[in-house]
């Protein structure tokens, strides 16, 4: 049972890739600084026709969807109690934690009055979809940090080693960590269930967000079942994200991919994509929007790309045993689902949005792209840093285990 155990990765932090990523992150931060000095208009291509750009359409909408691995694995691992998947929960949790942190940051930089970001906490509007999304994301982010606390306590209990004159606090800090650990152990299930409920709520409400735009949104995407489509696609993309990131991490740290777990997970994706495809086709048929697919324009092309490469091809791939057994096959199929959801969110928020008095169409500025790319780079760097500090990635144990939890288990 305890064959795999999460441990901090030991490898040097800086590699050529890391240096490139650092450059991209730095570039993004420079443009970010410009946004705060000269305002949103100076850095972005946003105007009164296009109030929302890629900072909302990609960073927030796609970011939330791609961080869905956190709640899907929590549901499988903790709520369904499938213990064999425990080794993937921590990496997924970390991805979600970092993902949502960057979603919150993106919202903040996009707000004209970012210093009033706390207003929704005391100024409520029950009919606003954005209010619901905002509150849910805020609470869920807190829940994610709480869910991550046991990793912190596990890393530092018995190993608190503060430098210099603060050394005398070593014992009190250790004691606090132990109390925290015990308290969390008893109450964690509350947060785990809350995390899943909150995720279902805001993942779906993110879809409701554009419903109020009514005829400003292209009929191929504007449908009352948007919340349902968003929820199913978020659940479907959670596992591909976990598989993709697990394969990349294994490769990056020279570990053997946990293929038996990943194949099992992969086999769940096919049916989910099938359900999504059924709803999507049903929606197009019932609202008779397929007529717009006969036209040849950006909307019809993007809709086709989204459905063909993001749903239909990976659906076929995940149903094949050969693909499920090969790391490369899994990697490609997972990437396609991620790509599909990414494009879908972009289509919903940017491509489909055509205001009645549109003089020119929107294309993100260099500044907007730089900030988005910079954020993604920063997220990857932080992920690498975190797995090197905290016990997150599971490796096969050969030597005698040393973690405190292992004392309880049977020595194998």
């Amino acid at each position: 049972m305890d064959k795999f155990k999460p441990v901090p990765m030991k490898k040097k932090f800086f590699t050529p890739t890391v240096i490139v990523l650092s450059g991209l992150a730095l570039n993004g931060l420079v443009f970010l600084l410009a946004r705060f000095i000269w305002g949103i208009g100076a850095v972005t291509n946003l105007d009164n026709q296009h109030p929302w750009g890629i900072w909302i359409g990609l960073d927030v909408a796609a970011g939330v969807a791609l961080a869905a691995g956190g709640f899907t694995t929590a549901a499988i691992g903790h709520i369904m109690h499938k213990d064999q998947y425990h080794s993937i929960i921590r990496p997924a949790l970390l991805t979600a934690l970092l993902g949502y942190t960057f979603v919150a940051s993106s919202v903040m930089i996009d707000l004209g009055r970012y210093y009033y970001i706390w207003h929704p906490l005391i100024m409520w509007n029950g009919s606003s979809v954005l209010f619901e999304v905002g509150i849910c994301v805020m609470i869920y982010l807190t829940v994610l940090y709480i869910e991550f606390l046991p990793v912190v306590t596990e890393r530092f209990i018995g190993r608190v080693n503060l430098p210099g004159f603060v050394k005398r606090f070593n014992n009190p800090v250790d004691k606090i960590l132990r109390i925290l650990d015990r308290g969390l152990d008893k109450t964690m299930f509350i947060f785990i269930i809350a995390g899943v409920v909150l995720s279902c709520l805001h993942q779906s409400s993110l879809g409701t967000l554009m419903v109020i735009a009514g005829p400003k949104m292209h009929p191929l995407w504007q449908t009352p079942i948007l919340p349902l489509l968003f929820l199913i696609s978020a659940i479907s993309v959670g596992l591909p994200m976990v598989i993709f990131e697990s394969l990349i991490t294994s490769r990056s740290f020279g570990l053997k991919p946990e293929m038996d777990i990943l194949s099992d997970l992969g086999s769940m994706i096919g049916p989910l994509l099938g359900i999504y495809l059924a709803f999507k086709i049903g929606d197009v048929m019932i609202r008779k929007t397929f007529v717009y697919l006969m036209e040849f324009n950006t909307a019809s092309i993007m809709f086709t790309i989204e459905l063909l490469f993001g749903v239909i091809i990976p659906l076929r791939m995940f149903l094949s045993r050969q693909v499920l057994k090969s790391p490369v096959g899994l990697l490609i199929a997972s990437f396609l689902v991620i790509f599909g959801v990414f494009i879908n969110r972009m289509n919903n928020f940017l491509i489909a949005y055509t205001p009645p008095y549109e003089v020119h169409s929107y294309f993100p500025s260099v500044g907007e792209i730089s900030v988005t790319v910079g954020f993604i780079a920063l997220e990857i760097l932080l992920f690498r840093l975190m797995v090197m500090i905290f016990p997150i990635v599971s490796v096969q144990q050969v030597s005698k285990p040393r973690t405190k939890y292992f004392v309880r288990g049977s020595a194998k």
Partner: protein
């Protein structure tokens, strides 16, 4: 969680549930959306408007916005381009050709329509917009966080944002001269209009007056009052000699703009029942699976 007793589980779960239901009673607080029977409105007769643009000047002056002298507004070359209200001009006049008599082009003043069921009021994350008793839809700068969701929501594409401001950017839109009308004055544009193209009055009276005009002069007007039914009705309404769609008005249905969105939203959050039910369901599933595992592992212990 391994040594979690059944009683503990139930106790904490009940507490969490109580906390969530406790919240629901407070969630009624929302922005004002008063639909007074005596709410005011304005009727614009585009067949009367001469396109002098004095209303543009008066609007800027009344709102303490930067403006050039009133004479510069006689320049009719601006009509070459179709313009929209921006953060620097809350109302603009556009000109369209008249197919019947070329010498009398059709001029259309554009500003916030002050909907009876405003999308901005429904959408605003902090409830910064509200529909007042006098019919105006106003924005509260002390609440706004600058998210621009009102701009996404507005079916008439009216709210504008000060993109060039790094600190305290405002949402700008016509406020129906709320400050002036509460003091008994006319809206600035209505007051200055030299040909009385804008009529200010209760919405009820204006609808009647509009239909009366159409009945009296069937050759002058098309038989439709724009704003009477569009997106559930608006406080500002238009009369025209030409189809409104040819004057760049958006094609809109009769249902209030926030209708579908609010139905979905209130369905998902009907007294917090669905989220709490989901919470309970997941808790139950978790508990059953946990016990099953314990049972399976049997004498081996935890």
């Amino acid at each position: 969680m391994a040594n979690q007793s059944r009683r503990d589980f139930l106790k904490t779960a009940a507490l969490a549930g109580a906390a969530v239901t406790g919240l629901s009673s407070k969630v009624k607080a929302g922005p004002k959306n008063i639909l007074s029977e005596n709410r005011m409105g304005a009727l614009i007769d585009t067949t009367v408007c001469i396109g002098c643009r004095k209303c543009e000047w008066a609007c800027k002056t009344a709102h303490a916005m930067e403006t050039q002298s009133i004479e510069t507004y006689d320049d009719r070359s601006v009509f070459k381009n179709s313009r929209r209200p921006t953060d620097k001009a809350l109302t603009v006049v556009n000109e369209y050709p008249n197919d019947i008599s070329e010498n009398f082009p059709i001029d259309v003043k554009v500003q916030c329509m002050h909907c009876d069921h405003p999308a901005c009021v429904s959408a605003c994350i902090v409830g910064a917009f509200s529909k007042q008793e006098n019919g105006s839809v106003v924005w509260d700068g002390d609440k706004c966080i600058g998210c621009r969701y009102c701009m996404v929501a507005c079916p008439f594409q009216i709210p504008a944002f000060e993109f060039d401001k790094a600190l305290k950017p405002d949402i700008k839109k016509c406020d129906f001269c709320n400050e002036r009308t509460t003091k008994g004055k006319l809206p600035a544009c209505t007051e200055i209009c030299p040909v009385e193209a804008i009529t200010y009055g209760t919405r009820e009276d204006l609808v009647k007056a509009a239909h009366q005009k159409i009945k009296l002069y069937p050759n002058r007007y098309i038989d439709r009052v724009l704003g009477e039914y569009e997106v559930g009705g608006t406080s500002w309404m238009y009369l025209s000699s030409k189809e409104f769609e040819k004057l760049d008005f958006p094609k809109l249905g009769k249902d209030p703009a926030p209708g579908v969105s609010e139905t979905i939203q209130h369905g998902i959050f009907a007294y917090f029942v669905p989220p709490v039910a989901l919470y309970a369901l997941l808790g139950g599933v978790m508990w059953i699976n946990k016990n099953k595992k314990k049972h399976d592992s049997g004498a081996e212990g935890e």
